[in-house]
Amino acid sequence: MLNLLTDPNLRWILLGSMLLGLSGGVIGTFSYLRKQSLIGDTLAHAALPGICIAFMLTGVKSVGLFLVGALLAGAAATLSVTLITRYSRIKPDAAMGIVLSLFFAVGIVLLTRIQHSSYGNQSGLDKFLFGQAASMTSSDLYTLGGVALLLVIACGLLYKEFKLLSFDPGYGRGLGFPMGLLEQLLLGLTTVAVVVGIQAVGVVLVAALLITPAVSARYWTDRLGVMTVLAGLFGALSGAAGAWISSGVSQLPTGPISVLAATACFVASVLFGPRRGLAAKLLGRRSARRRWLAESAGATRANIQAAMQATAQAAVLTDGQANVHDNAHPNVHSAAHANERRASV
């Protein structure tokens, strides 16, 4: 594992995986906020027939050509999802399932055609299914790294527009931004991120590159800028972890390890994220309960004084019932609610 910093080949793989993770996280932030997390999964499966057709037409195995084929297939897939949901009563989730499996099936039929016929240099085409981060050549890495960098730069330049698109497209249209065009652009960038991500982790797992870092980042912040940076960071970290761990253990594939690293990030975020995390919620609940108990003790004393004045016996009774109810569901809201009620009493 230590030879990572000295072995130039491994250094390239590390850098490439980090860049792919980074771009996936940044793009994924926007698709998560637009509630289209699984579009990445659909696009990844749809890329297969595009890649196969590109190979069948040219007979050349190059990342650039595959990118073009996958982009076109991805566009066709998103168009079919839109058409099916717009012109029939099929719901979006079923439409995505249909398009995903149908495109993948076409891809498999083409792939077996390629394997059974004399296209020659076809070995390695199926590596796309499970990723081939560890066997990337340096020219592949230049292409992929360059594309990933371009993606990040594009997101940086169009940050304000994509922010509008994610939160309030209607307002953006009112301001005169071409929202339809921006939507297509974001979809195109997502497709590019998915296609380069397939190289790293494979068709099935590429969805994780987009979703998991973005969901993890959401646990830490409410600001889009911070979230984008964090998601990119998580993505890059998990890419690096995947490359590093799998370089040490010979049988471990890079892609799944990257995904598991991202999942570890996610679990840590679920547990320890401020405010949304499980630990923060439990602590907040406990301190709220303690505050509430302290206050209710004070309130009881006040109530006893009030009862001694014998003016509001009925009010004490109802307040006591409310206490029982709130203790059954001790959380911040009901405690705060009860405080308000007591203040009004």
Partner: protein, 295 residues
């Protein structure tokens, strides 16, 4: 004879998937089916390590358990505030990654090809036969799928009313005292079972095709649940027969061709369904407009 066994296996897979898929499509959980079909991989791998054979009872059990875990985790994150499709994505990719790692770590002990997990090898179905004594009883996969189909048919017909109500109006079902959560998990357990018994034949990704496409096509053809299930089964069986024919003709993946055949039928239903088809509705609108002008 080999063609017969392959078509029979395909038809059994399609029937299992079509029955369950109808409920998934109606409950807007098509992608949960997608998630389960990927997430059962670690269950399959672990059961394989424990029992040392595939197509066994252990495998069904292990995968059904992991399917439950996946559904439970998805619900957990969803109730914790994660968007539903994002929680589906996080859970199934994580479980699938665990499965791939388990398989590649034990590559020497596991005779389980990752390609086979994704695409299935329905063409090899006939070689793996169940034998009692000297008597050959036909392919193991057919027996396994037949058993699964029997369980699915028994459970669904026994609780048909409850499943129906849960699919259309879970709130009313809960108000009537039907344990909606129990039926949810029961359905998910059946989906995991169907996925595991069919993954060997058609692969993890194409199970989704057979789960979603025939029911979606049937959904466009009828408004009655019973009819929808029947139509979905018919469409599934037609796809497996037509898909096999196309695969022989094209010399390509059988499972892939089956899903493509289902896709063609969906496209036909999408365009020409008597009640909901695109072309039919257009034509009816035009006829109505012409009739209005004439009148």
């Amino acid at each position: 004879m080999s063609g017969f066994w392959i078509m029979l296996t395909g038809a059994l897979v399609a029937t299992c998937c079509a029955v369950l898929g109808c409920f998934l499509v109606l409950r807007r959980m098509a992608l949960v089916g997608d998630a389960i079909s990927h997430a059962v991989l670690p269950g399959i791998a672990i059961a394989f390590l424990v029992s040392g054979s595939r197509g066994s009872f252990f495998m069904l059990l292990g995968a059904a358990l992991v399917g439950f875990v996946a559904v439970f985790l998805i619900q957990l994150f969803q109730s914790g505030g994660v968007q539903s499709d994002a929680s589906i994505g996080v859970v199934f990719t994580a479980l699938f990654a665990v499965g791939v790692v388990l398989i590649s770590l034990n590559a020497r002990n596991i005779d389980l090809d990752l390609d086979c997990v994704l695409f299935g090898e329905i063409a090899y179905v006939q070689w793996n036969t169940l034998e009692i004594g000297a008597l050959s009883l036909g392919p193991k996969a057919v027996w396994l799928l037949g058993l699964t189909l029997l369980v699915i048919a028994a459970v669904v017909s026994l609780f048909y009313k409850q499943f129906k109500l849960c699919a259309f109006d879970p709130a009313l079902a809960a108000a009537l005292g039907i344990p909606v959560a129990v039926f949810h998990y029961l359905l998910m357990g059946l989906v995991s079972m169907a996925t595991v018994s069919s993954f060997e034949s058609v692969g993890a990704v194409l199970v989704v095709g057979l789960l979603v496409i025939p029911p979606a096509a049937a959904y466009l053809l009828t408004d009655r649940l019973g009819t929808m299930i029947g139509l979905a089964v018919v469409i599934g069986i037609v796809s497996s027969v037509a898909g096999y024919g196309a695969a022989v003709w094209l010399d390509a993946s059988i499972a892939g061709c089956m899903v493509c055949a289902a896709g063609v039928q969906f496209a036909l239903a999408f365009l020409f369904s008597p009640s909901h088809g695109l072309v039919t509705r257009r034509r009816r609108l035009r006829a109505a407009a012409l009739g209005g002008r004439a009148g």
